[in-house]
């Protein structure tokens, strides 16, 4: 393997996209992903690509729509509020079956939130986010090295299935530095196979190509959607990726993705050294979600604990996969706080001992709220003020 170079996550990602053959980037600045457009602004020029600082996130995603229509490996990046703005364009690209790469370096939300790393956009990323019935391939790196190497995988999957792909990172991954080595040689986009569907100059040797997200004739849209669903089915069957550590004999399996999985791994190591059988399951593809494997693991472990920097979003998929066979608990760090390994370890022990320490439970919160000010007979509540 090549010598590791110290790189910032955002820069490793941008360089990784260039190496993967990305030759069009449009974006609009937002912390904590600013190094991505900054890097692209000079690097695209070096490789003969194009960089546009768009006038808005909405403009940027629609520029990607145009570039991707020509078969160019095109990319945009932003952070949570900016990605919300892009949803219309993402929905249109999903409808037009356009491969592209969208990067979300998540920050705190909702609204403007804050600029620290968070994981509050899982549902938005995996359930569409824009209007209509569609999916994105969603990859969740947990290191600078994966941030740098995933753009290639994202473009390849996107092109194979003609679907937009998203890399869902967070502010910590984007801002941190680690040793980076690329596991692939730079790709010259001229050497990539031609895309027969792409728009461009037609010398008469082919028929008319059209890129469009609508089908107005009766029954046409249904046909388009069902055709797309076939590809979704293939993706769910063939493209699931995950990592497992110490799951074979684990009593409690922590399920965590992205940066949270690293705190979870530290917790697993600490617990194992105390003789507690904990394991880690890390989804790498958030869609397709590794439901099948989680269902298998639910047969051998006693419980699962989701560790998320949100009020619990991925846990919905884990609960669906385990189908009520085992309890699924939550350790939650909303508001862009970094998960603490020691707390996760305590949460695992709580799961094993039937305690509540560091387990997040809405029923407990409701009880707490009742005891403070939200009881119907409480005057403050009657006046419509929530504290």
């Amino acid at each position: 393997m090549a010598e590791k170079v110290l790189m910032k996550g955002n820069e490793a990602l941008a360089e990784g996209a260039i190496r993967a053959g990305c030759r069009f980037f449009a974006g609009y600045p937002i912390t904590p992903q600013n190094e991505v457009p900054e890097y692209m602004s000079w690097r695209q020029e070096e490789v003969g690509g194009a960089f546009v600082q768009a006038e808005s996130e909405v403009a940027a995603i629609n520029m990607i729509y145009g570039a991707a229509s020509t078969g160019t490996r095109a990319m945009t990046s932003s952070s949570s509020p900016g990605v919300s703005l892009k949803q219309e364009g993402i929905s249109y690209m999903a409808g037009a079956d356009l491969p592209c790469l969208i990067v979300n370096v998540m920050r705190g939300g909702p609204g403007l939130g804050n600029i620290a790393g968070a994981q509050g956009d899982y549902i938005q990323a995996t359930r569409g986010g824009g209007n209509g019935d569609y999916r994105l391939i969603v990859l969740a790196p947990n290191s600078v090295e994966e941030l740098g190497n995933f753009p290639k995988m994202a473009f390849e999957l996107a092109e194979k299935y003609r679907i937009p792909a998203m890399i869902l990172a967070d502010g910590i991954l984007g801002q941190m530095m680690e040793g980076m080595s690329y596991n692939f040689d730079p790709i010259d986009p001229k050497t990539l196979p031609a895309k027969p569907w792409a728009l461009g100059i037609n010398d008469g040797s082919r028929g008319k190509n059209m890129v469009s997200s609508y089908g107005l004739a009766e029954g046409e849209l249904e046909k388009m959607i069902l055709k797309r669903a076939e590809r979704y089915a293939l993706i769910e069957r063939d493209e699931v990726r995950y990592e497992e550590r110490f799951t074979e004999d684990a009593d409690v399996i922590i399920v965590a993705y992205g940066i949270s999985s690293r705190a979870a791994m530290a917790a697993v190591n600490a617990l194992r050294s105390e003789g507690v059988k904990a394991g880690l399951f890390r989804p790498i593809t958030l869609w397709p979600f590794p439901s099948k494997r989680i269902a298998e693991l639910a047969q051998s472990c006693k419980a699962m604990l989701c560790a998320e920097m949100s009020l619990g979003q991925m846990i919905i998929d884990v609960k669906l996969a385990t189908a009520g066979k085992i309890p699924v608990h939550l350790y939650a760090k909303p508001g862009a706080f970094f998960p603490v390994a020691e707390e996760i370890a305590v949460a695992v022990k709580s799961v094993l001992n039937g305690k509540k320490d560091f387990l997040f439970n809405l029923a407990d919160l409701a009880e707490k709220a009742d005891n403070t000010c939200h009881k119907p007979e409480n005057k403050i509540c009657k006046e419509g003020t929530l504290l």
Binding site: K4, L6, T31, P32, I115, A116, I172, Q175, M176, M177, E178, G179, R262, A263, M265, A266, N269, F338, V340, A341
Partner: protein, 179 residues
């Protein structure tokens, strides 16, 4: 070996760059490393800090909440980072600028008059390098050679005489031992 480090000081003292140097030095010695900056809103003259981890095994969390070592370069950083230190941890204090004393008794403390030493060495701008030298000399987490090597990688356009000057600052810091 695992060293979680926090380096803190005024913006402009080079604490964030010093963190990059430490991480790069660890990488030079084939360690697993991470570096994470504070990037919140700050005013001019405000404080900056970063987390660095140097480890024999993979780095779990890049955000160092309980440092093995805290290097504090200005007064406001002392009350912020002293309480975070692990019990038995090392506190490196820039005594040129910090007049308060730490209150904890379960930690090791080194007072390094970084600014004075830096001026003796030849430039006040090397004061944070003096502190890095004290870190390397007392923890052994990275060697001075590795830091010098890292300087050449991180500051690619640095002139040889600047590298030599910074090396002198590192060596001066490395001589100071914990009380």
């Amino acid at each position: 070996m695992y060293q979680g480090v926090r380096i803190a000081g005024f913006g402009g003292q080079g604490v964030v760059s010093a963190g990059v140097l430490l991480a790069q030095a660890g990488l030079v010695e084939d360690k697993a490393v991470s570096w994470f900056p504070s990037y919140g809103p700050e005013m001019r003259g405000g404080t900056a800090n970063c987390s660095v981890v140097i480890s024999d095994t993979e780095v779990a969390t890049p955000v160092v909440c309980a440092p093995d070592t805290a290097i504090v370069m200005n007064e406001p950083s002392l009350p912020k980072f002293e309480p975070m230190l692990k019990s038995g941890g090392l506190l490196i204090i820039n005594s040129s600028l910090i007049k308060s004393k730490p209150t904890r008794t379960d930690i090791k403390v080194i007072y390094v008059p970084c600014n004075e030493i830096a001026e003796e060495v030849g430039s006040l701008r090397t004061s944070t390098m003096v502190a890095l030298g004290a870190f390397a000399g007392n923890t052994g987490a990275v060697s001075l050679d590795a830091i010098e090597n890292a300087m050449k990688k991180v500051f690619k356009r640095a002139k040889p005489e600047m590298i030599a000057l910074n090396r002198k600052a590192l060596e001066a810091g490395a001589k100071l031992k914990a009380e």
